[in-house]
């Protein structure tokens, strides 16, 4: 991404907080958080030319910048700038005060955090903000997740599941909306916010379509169809949509580890014609979900990635270029569930709403991300300049609302302006 002028792989987490929020309290909590986590002062570098980059602590404790902006600052435009990651360090905060609280933007390196880890970091900072005298012990090491089994022979046998899935998907022509080849472009984002009643309606609709328990395939089907409608408008009718979904290794409800690499991946694919019906698409994706989980594809991928971490990146980039022509995903997608569960206040202000906006690489150029806070769903559409026209964004958002709420939603409120 950096070499093609797309900035660093970063993300922005939005928090809407109520009156009483204090940037000074946040600053102090960040200081103690950084003191407890020396890894925040690390940089990714190679020990010797040609070797695998590793995180090396260069300045501990890190200084987490907390920057205050003028009231009325366009937070969406600000987020777009922050998403490109052209700021020093691995974590920073930007605060935009308002008459009834503040919008707090936490920007984080996606190389060090994932969304669940970013929320854990926020949760820890929130706890510190409520306990000014608390100085947690320094966390030196987190370890690397085990790939579920021991013994090279058993790992070699199990990894076969991922290899088979990889080559099965390579037989399909993966399409994405971003123009090849990788190009310098700015990050953009916009958000769809749903009310509590609308969110309840979305949930009921998802439960009805998926028999109530596996809603991930439903939301993935919605995201695929949002992309399919743009392809249709472009006259593209064949090709496959492929999307990797993260599978958490952390136990649900766990408060650590905060850092990245606590996930495996499952790889989903539907041909563009298969996205014609939302119900059928959700069923097809559910079948893929069940098949991949039963076969242990997530464990197999984890074994593969643990082996690959020892390889210089140029080797597997070459492999991907040769076997996949550089196209390995059609878009990025995640539903991260309930945002900051268990957090009532953050740095003196009530937590009113929150969601994530990760930057996406180009290709593929787009991402659709969902989360719920206080019973309200937010959908983040993130893209690179040049990937989607304004009309195409409107098509996507209309399809998203239709699929999430039902056909009548298409005639309701117009989509918000982009950042």
């Amino acid at each position: 991404m950096m070499r093609s002028g797309q900035g660093r792989h970063a993300a922005v987490t939005f928090l809407e907080v109520g009156p009483g929020f204090s940037a000074d309290v946040l600053r102090d909590a960040c200081r103690r958080f950084a003191a407890a986590h020396p890894l925040l002062g690390a940089s990714l570098s190679r020990g010797w030319p040609g070797t695998v980059p590793a995180w090396r602590i260069t300045s501990a404790p890190a200084e987490i910048e907390v920057s205050k902006h003028e009231p009325g600052t366009d937070v969406t435009a600000l987020a777009g700038q922050l998403m490109d990651g052209r700021w020093p360090g691995l974590l920073r905060f930007d605060v935009v005060p308002s008459s009834d609280g503040a919008t707090v933007l936490m920007s984080w390196s996606h190389l060090l955090f994932d969304a669940r880890g970013a929320e854990m970091a926020l949760s820890e900072i929130g706890v510190l903000s409520g306990s000014p005298d608390l100085n947690p012990a320094v966390r030196e090491s987190w370890g690397v997740p085990d790939a579920f089994c021991s013994g090279f022979g058993e790992r070699l046998r199990k990894v076969r599941v991922f290899v088979d899935r990889y080559y099965e998907l390579r037989n399909r022509r993966v399409v994405s909306l971003g123009p090849p080849p990788p190009a310098s472009s700015e990050s953009r984002c916009l958000f769809l916010h749903f009310s509590e009643s609308e969110t309840a309606s979305v949930r009921r609709r998802g439960e009805h379509l998926t028999a109530g328990i596996f809603v991930m395939p439903y939301f993935l089907a919605v995201a695929m169809r949002a992309h399919a409608v743009v392809f249709e408008a472009r006259g593209v009718r064949d090709g496959a949509l492929e999307c990797a979904i993260s599978a958490q290794n952390r136990k649900r409800g766990a408060r650590d580890p905060v850092w990245q690499n606590q996930v495996s991946q499952l790889f989903f694919s539907l041909g563009l014609p298969q996205t014609a019906s939302l119900a059928q698409a959700a069923v097809d994706l559910q079948e893929q979900f069940a098949a991949m989980t039963r076969s242990g594809c997530d464990a197999a991928f984890l074994i593969m990635i643990n082996w690959m971490r020892r390889l210089p990146p140029f080797l597997y980039r070459r492999f991907l270029r040769r076997t996949a022509s550089g196209q390995i995903t059609s878009f990025y997608h995640a539903h991260t569930g309930t945002f900051l569960p268990g957090t009532g206040d953050f740095c003196g202000g009530a937590l009113l709403d929150g969601w994530h906006a990760p930057s996406v690489s180009q290709p593929p150029g787009t991402g659709i991300f969902l989360s719920e806070c206080r019973g309200r769903l937010t959908v983040s559409l993130c893209w690179r300049d040049g990937t989607l026209s304004a009309q195409e964004r409107h098509l996507m958002l209309t399809r998203l609302r239709e699929d999430l709420l039902g056909g009548e939603a298409a005639t309701q409120a117009p989509p918000p302006a982009a950042g």
Binding site: I213, F214, M216, A247, K251, R252, G253, A290, P341
Partner: protein
């Protein structure tokens, strides 16, 4: 099994605890389902994979009992 592998909960996990309220999501449910099948030697049919059957440890146990009783 649920506490050990899938859910971080303070204290004991009550038999009637709402697993969805505690944070169990789609991926977690599927992983739990596979673990149950492998541990108890049962195959849970798709029609039995519902919110009601997986809502709590108690309901899961009842579901497994019903499936194993039905397969004898």
């Amino acid at each position: 099994m649920i506490r050990e592998k899938f859910l971080e909960v303070p204290g004991e996990l009550e038999p009637g605890a709402d697993l969805f309220a505690l944070g169990l999501d789609s991926m977690g449910i599927m992983q739990l389902l596979i673990t149950i099948e492998q541990s108890f030697g049962v195959r849970i049919p798709d029609r039995a994979v519902t919110q009601d059957h997986f809502r709590s440890p108690c309901r899961i146990a009842q579901t497994i009992r019903a499936i194993t009783a039905g397969s004898r």
